[in-house]
Amino acid sequence: MTMKKLFIIALIVTVASIISCNDVQRKPSNVYIPDMAYSRAYETYADHSNLKDAGINYTNLPVPGTIARGEEFPFPLAKDAAGDTTNYFASKKIKGPVDSLSKSEYTETERLYLINCGICHGAKLDGNGPLYKGGEGPFAAKPATLVGDAKYEAMPEGQMFYSVMYGKNLMGSYASQLNRKQRWQIIKYIKLKQAEGKAPVAVANATAKN
């Protein structure tokens, strides 16, 4: 009799422990002293939607037209309205502030290119990055062949900047991922690579000089 009872108790305990054992931890654990764990200040990922209700008039964005110290001057052209291409063509005349890249700048810009651009335009700037893979990859449209296509070799820096800043066709804007200087530097990097494709010696000299 006792045996039977014991066995049933053991069985219930086992089953309960199996059921309660869920490997996937979907909820965070409890904390000790919550007021030291959770920020009283508004942190980056806190809910900011109720600031106004709390009487806090705070806007995340700087006043339009603000330029940070040491930052490049803003691009003077606005984005074209859909179907319009006036500013896209006007952008050809705009000259970039980056004339050359020093050795360390070149390495850094190459790193940024590989992170942000290489995924589509390819590490060799051949328009065949891992997302396109000659049409095998998930990206349906062919990215621009930056080196080897006369259209892009002839494209002025300003127009390239326009495309990087506002996006062009299926390419999105990279203004949120790269700051102005980085964008101009990447365009310089592309131009250097294009020149390298034509005359490898000249660029080697140009980069060594810096």
């Binding site: 014991l6 990206f139 066709n169």
Partner: protein
């Protein structure tokens, strides 16, 4: 005025294209695929609406082939003929002007059209290679076995004591009535000790685990697979989490970063993937969820002002009394993301890899050598640089994070 502008546009465009053809490599053979890839693929896919319409069946949509050819060569001039179909098409695609191709010969256009006509969708990729292997939880099995063995041992002991009593009765010997186990002092002592040990173990473990979240794996609003993005498609971590190199936070990407790729990628064709519970995930449905947040309809221009932010659940949280800075680790310290976040490229659903406890931080700071040479960030440690040069500090051992103050309390707590 407008027509004047578009003539200028036409001239500029055609100059560019003329130049591109005179200097670029002119396709000699009638290779439709190469021609398509070179001239059309930037804006057109065969079975998908991109910047321009999907081209499958384009010849059926243009009954007059002559018109189609002149449209391809110079669409701006063709639009002016007032052709209704062409003008509707132009308006439907937001008046984005198609490039001009005055240099394409009829034979080349024919080759492209033939390539489009003969095109067959690629066979679905063979999948099933990465079905999650059933993980044997041996701890539970051992636990059950131990429990069963314990019950058997207990039963046998009871049986043994009963049998002894029986045999004693048979022999006519006086055998004391067996003490029931709940009154047996040895049993009581044993159970107390076991309860104390087990209870103590779990209490301690629970207390240490307060605020620690190793293996925390919340459900996200969209079943986003890091394995598909960072693993299979080789998107760099910093493409989306660019904040990691410039700021305290690695930053969760905003919708426009998603849409950089997903304007064109609107279906999932890769290998199957699963939630942590083992349910199969429909990748295309997840992309549709993204479009709902973004307010985007495939094939139409995207208006980012219609987007609603996705409320991702942050996984790696440090208590407020600890300061941590990503850029310090990524940029100055040159630590790989995977060191603290684990094999993200293999995780469909991200789970917290490290326990992010203080012991874990301190341990790494004691063991990790900082990259002292060719790193402008550490140039102010002149004495260490000198000692390294003189050989006072073994350069093989190097300078650990601890040596430059990485275990001082106020480095992280202030």
């Amino acid at each position: 005025m407008i027509s004047h502008r578009s003539t200028t546009k036409t001239i500029i465009l055609s100059t560019i294209i003329f130049l591109s053809f005179s200097f670029g490599n002119i396709a000699k053979a009638q290779d439709g695929k190469a021609l398509f890839s070179q001239n059309c693929a930037a804006c057109h896919a065969i079975d998908k609406r991109l910047t321009g319409p999907a081209l499958l069946g384009v010849q059926d949509r243009w009954p007059d082939q002559k018109k189609l050819y002149s449209w391809i060569k110079n669409n701006q001039a063709f639009l002016k003929t007032g052709d209704a179909y062409a003008n509707n098409l132009y308006n439907e695609f937001g008046k984005v002007p198609m490039n001009l191709f005055p240099n394409l010969t009829d034979a080349e256009i024919g080759a492209i059209l033939k390539y489009i006509k003969d095109w067959k969708p690629a066979a679905a990729p063979t999948v099933g290679a990465n079905t999650p292997a059933p993980e044997g939880d041996s701890t539970l099995l051992f636990g059950i076995l131990t429990l069963i063995l314990a019950i058997i041992a207990f039963t046998l002991m009871q049986v043994n004591s009963n049998l002894r009593k029986l045999s004693a009765d048979k022999d006519g010997e006086a055998y004391p009535e067996p003490v029931p186990f709940w009154k047996n002092k040895a049993y009581i002592a044993f159970v107390t000790i076991v309860l104390f040990l087990v209870g103590g173990y779990f209490t301690t473990k629970g207390a240490i685990g307060l605020g620690r979240n190793k293996n925390y794996q919340p459900e996200q609003p969209i079943m986003y697979s890091h394995k598909v993005h960072a693993g299979i498609n080789q998107v760099n971590c910093l493409y989306c989490h660019g904040g990691a190199q410039d700021s305290k936070h690695a930053s969760i990407p905003s919708l426009n970063v998603c849409m950089n790729c997903h304007m064109a990628i609107n279906e999932y064709k890769g290998p199957k993937f699963y939630t942590e519970e083992g349910a199969e995930v429909d990748g295309t449905a997840q992309i549709k969820k993204l479009y709902e947040y973004a307010g985007f309809t495939p094939g139409k221009p995207w208006d980012p002002s219609q987007a609603k932010p996705i409320e991702w659940v942050k996984i790696h949280n440090l208590p407020d009394h600890v300061y941590f800075n990503h850029s310090q680790h990524i940029k100055a310290g040159k630590v790989q993301c995977q060191t603290c976040h684990g094999e993200i490229t293999n995780m469909d659903e991200v789970k917290q890899f490290a326990d992010l406890s203080m012991g874990w931080c301190i341990n790494c700071h004691r063991e990790t050598k900082v990259q002292f040479k060719e790193n402008g960030f550490y140039s102010i440690y002149e004495k260490y640089h000198e000692d390294l040069k003189n050989g006072k500090i073994d350069s093989a051992k190097g300078i650990t994070v601890e040596k430059i103050g990485g275990t001082e309390c106020q480095k992280c707590h202030y």
